[in-house]
Symmetry: C2
Subunit: 560 residues, 2 copies
């Protein structure tokens, strides 16, 4: 199943006022591979990996004068016959409907059960005749884009994946605006409903398309950053952005769907990923889970570039995380050429070192209309390798030739001439665009340097460098190394993971072990507060060159 997913930007970049763009396509192959890898890994590490949400047909007979057990108790007895020795709990909200459903289907029903704290809870009762699969929804609750994956919990197959812009963007594209809005009268409820209503609308569409009754969706797992999670739960994020930055809750227990007004089976569990703090959300815990870092003996790094650049380092013994404001520009903040992803957006650039000719690849092979993040990093790396910019990122006029021009006192390079452009106007890269990218990549490299220094692990000991998100899927690691954004390791060290939030949410729905891993990860992780002190600023200053002040750190980068 190949679907084009459109992403909105996470945030406006700090480098300019223009639109930020990047390519948001997840193709089926990549998604599939990542998914299967993870599942195989999960199966290898624990053969007893079992479902914690399941369907079950209770063994029961219709009542008679010889057995006048009440309907609800009869149902529980019937479940116990199939699950002997287990404690079975029935939520009171289900009781009222039991007599009619049991009689309507002559005591031939199916139940949806889920496990929590060693007890099995009845989530819902379905007509036994249906014999339909049990479904689940994995949700990546992004601040700009929300992804929903419909899963068959029995076969573990992905039925469909879909996405939509987070409707809260109407209130504000950045998180802080939403946090402030939540403080207004009715604001919190409005923000919550926006996502909630849209999510319900989406799941009904999915159900219609696949002929599924929403009642046979027996569970949901949701991973998002701490603020998004708060808004989703209707919790005021007020204190998240105020010292000492206290969430309302770190680890929500399983919540029943009806408590969140979600239109799946009313008693179905909603697993909301825990956060470790204001700046370390459930999305990153899902990322660690998806990368399997917590089960590897060797040390690996996970980088997730969203609103912040979030970095985790560790193995099956320890985990350390930090986050810093390196994100937005890395996603491709470009003032002049910016636009939303779509046909004609540049995602790859190479420049012939001999002829200086630009080879440009665009989405859908159409005439170029803009550039996305991976395209931008490629472009700047190529400009550096061909000597068109120097180690400070400044244009070198004699190398740029007539591509270079000046507009309002700012130099800019014509990447695509007007006659070859899909817009009829030239596509240009301004000096300020490059400066912004350099600041971001320097921040990224400084964060990586700081966290590895803190744990005393040199880059050379990193076995895997996982890159989450769209950023990870489309970046050319060779180009990112060239501009000095990521360490000069063999390119095979870099592993794009796609959407790890969605992946982690999926795993947690399918496997009890994965679900438990979430809380093990949460308990094991140490959060490193980044102090922007003198040492940090020294690292940052040294990293504001291409690839770095100290060329010996990037031996593989050899410009013309």
């Amino acid at each position: 199943m190949v679907r084009i997913l459109r992403f909105n930007i996470e945030e406006r970049g700090f480098m300019g006022t223009g639109e930020l763009i990047f390519r948001g396509e997840l193709n089926g192959r990549r998604k599939g591979r990542s998914y299967e890898d993870k599942m195989m890994q999960s199966e290898n590490r624990n053969e007893q990996d079992r479902a914690w949400i399941k369907k079950l047909v209770p063994e029961m007979e219709p009542p008679s004068l010889n057995d006048n057990t009440a309907d609800a108790d009869r149902l529980i007895k019937g479940i116990r016959k199939v699950l002997p020795g287990k404690e079975i709990l029935l939520d009171f909200s289900l009781v009222r409907e039991i007599p009619s459903i049991l009689r309507e289907y002559d005591y031939q029903v199916e139940t949806i059960l889920f496990e929590d704290h060693g007890q099995w809870h009845v989530a819902g009762i379905l007509p036994g005749a249906l014999d339909s699969p049990l479904y689940g929804l994995a949700v990546d609750l992004g601040s700009s884009t929300i992804l929903v994956r419909l899963l068959d919990l029995s076969s573990k197959a992905v039925i469909e994946e879909t996405s939509f812009h987070n409707p809260q963007i109407k209130i504000g594209s950045d998180i802080l605006t939403r946090i402030h809005y939540a403080d207004q009268n009715g604001g919190l409820q409005e923000l919550r409903s926006m996502v909630n209503d849209r999510l319900n609308q989406e799941l009904h569409t999915l159900c219609r398309r696949h002929g599924i009754d929403a009642g046979s969706i027996g569970g949901m797992a949701v991973a998002g950053n701490t603020t998004m999670t708060h808004l989703f739960l209707g919790l005021n994020p007020h204190w998240l952005c105020r010292e000492p930055y206290i969430p309302v809750i770190n680890s929500p227990s399983l919540i029943k769907a009806h408590e969140l007004d979600l239109d799946i089976q009313a008693g179905a569990p909603v697993l909301v990923f825990p956060n470790v703090g204001s700046y370390f959300g459930g999305d990153l815990i899902a990322g660690i889970l998806a990368a399997g870092m917590n089960h590897r003996e060797e040390i690996s790094i996970l980088v997730d570039v969203g609103t912040n650049a979030e970095v985790v380092i560790g193995n099956n013994d320890w985990l350390m995380a930090c986050a810093g404001a390196a994100g937005p520009a890395l996603e491709g903040g470009v003032a002049g050429m910016g636009m939303m992803a779509g046909p004609g957006v540049i995602d790859r650039v190479t420049i012939d070192r001999e002829t200086g000719e630009f080879h440009i690849r665009t989405i859908a092979d159409q005439d170029p209309v803009g550039i996305c993040g991976s395209g931008l990093i490629d472009l700047v790396a190529q400009l550096f390798l061909t000597g068109m910019i120097d180690i400070r990122g400044k244009f070198v006029p004699r190398r740029c030739g007539n591509r270079l021009r000046e507009q309002d006192g700012i130099r800019e390079l014509v990447v695509v001439a007007p006659e070859k452009s899909g817009t009829g106007k030239p596509l240009t890269l301004a000096q300020t665009d490059i400066n912004g990218l350099i600041r971001s990549k320097a921040a990224m490299f400084t964060i990586l340097t700081t966290i590895t220094n803190t744990v005393g692990v040199p880059f050379s000991l990193i076995e895997h460098f996982f890159i989450a998100g769209t950023f990870g899927s489309y970046i050319n690691p060779r180009s990112a190394i060239t501009i000095g954004m990521i360490p000069d390791l063999p390119v095979e060290t870099y592993v794009p993971l796609g959407n790890t939030s969605l992946e982690g949410a999926t795993m947690s729905l399918l496997s009890d072990e994965a679900r438990k891993d979430i809380f093990r990860i949460r308990d094991r992780i140490t959060y490193l507060e980044l102090n922007v002190n003198q040492e940090f600023m020294n690292f940052f200053s040294a990293a504001k060159f291409i690839p770095h002040t100290d060329k010996s750190i990037f031996p593989s980068v050899r410009p013309n």
Copy 2:
């Protein structure tokens, strides 16, 4: 604390169309004694008897940059410090309010906790400064009268007891009318709200009167018959009165107060007594608990006369129960003299064997206006002992003298002459009234004979014969033996227990052992379906005489 409690009747009697009355006063001494007895017994049998609802002050510090644990998680950690090793669960419905309450009271709060299935649940959070006791409500959910007892759960003291007519009487005084009404559109909800609203109103009154915040009521226990329990829970009782008589639920799990729209602490547990079937409700399980039958080595009998006569026999090893339609008339169905309990109602009668003079005692010592159940049994016993009625219960004209007259072809006895009556009219007892009482007492004795025969225990082996309810509190056992309603055992065998429903509910709120006993009783009890077969009819016919066809069964009864 002595309060006069007014009871309404349970049902109209099957003996006539008139009003049924009985005296409904519970005086403080009786209530107190019964209560203390039970509590002492409970303490003796298990010294570790502990509370399952309690208040606790979590040990926590306000957040800082060094400890940015979320508010909800901080609260749970703080509780765990005081309850180490316990699993603490926080209902999601509480989470939203936590940040404001913690900050408002500078992280000095109290929590209400309750235990369920080995886990402790947070029921509510209170300002720490209050330091008020934790309260509970025990409720006897009668079909005619609802009793509410406000308890201090910490000191185990009864703060106040209050009662009101079940507002559902407006729909119908008998249970079947209500069951049918529940099937009408909106009927079930209406019946539920009637009791619910009135209960909320009553608890607010109690709170106001004692200066209590309703939020410091941390638990409720409710015992009622199966139909009343269904209506209270908003469950349709439709199938209760249709073969094979199936309740919606036998054993509800603990329900949070807000799920039942009860205005106590929102997350407080509501313990609804389980039923064993349509005819064996939570009120009788509460009765067994209150009588302590389930802990006694010796065999005892419990009789509860309500809508039905319910009988339990057993000990700490086994319990058997049955129920039959012997009730209404035993409560004092009297066509001619019937009226609601109140001042001037006759509750004791003696007739001088020498002079034939009637000695009549009335409530509040006022001029007689009617008769209640205990008065009726006394009267008929005295009429028999003085030869004014024969063993068939027929008036003996020569003994009755000018007290006897005929009205519309039916003989009746003038009990109180018009000039001595509070109504200015004579108070009379008709032959049909006596016939009805005899049928009821015969049914009662037949049920007792049948159940003891079934378990093979002769009456002589019964150590205690507990009589629950108002009926039990006011009956003169000597008179009841005289008319052959209860076995001819030493009068000290008969133990009035007062309102055992309310008593059992109280015990279950105060003690974890008592709460567990409820379910042990439920599991241990065998329900005997009374077959109205030839043997039963033979017993019944033999019992339709005063005291019995076989006089040797009642050696102590010696009429003039």
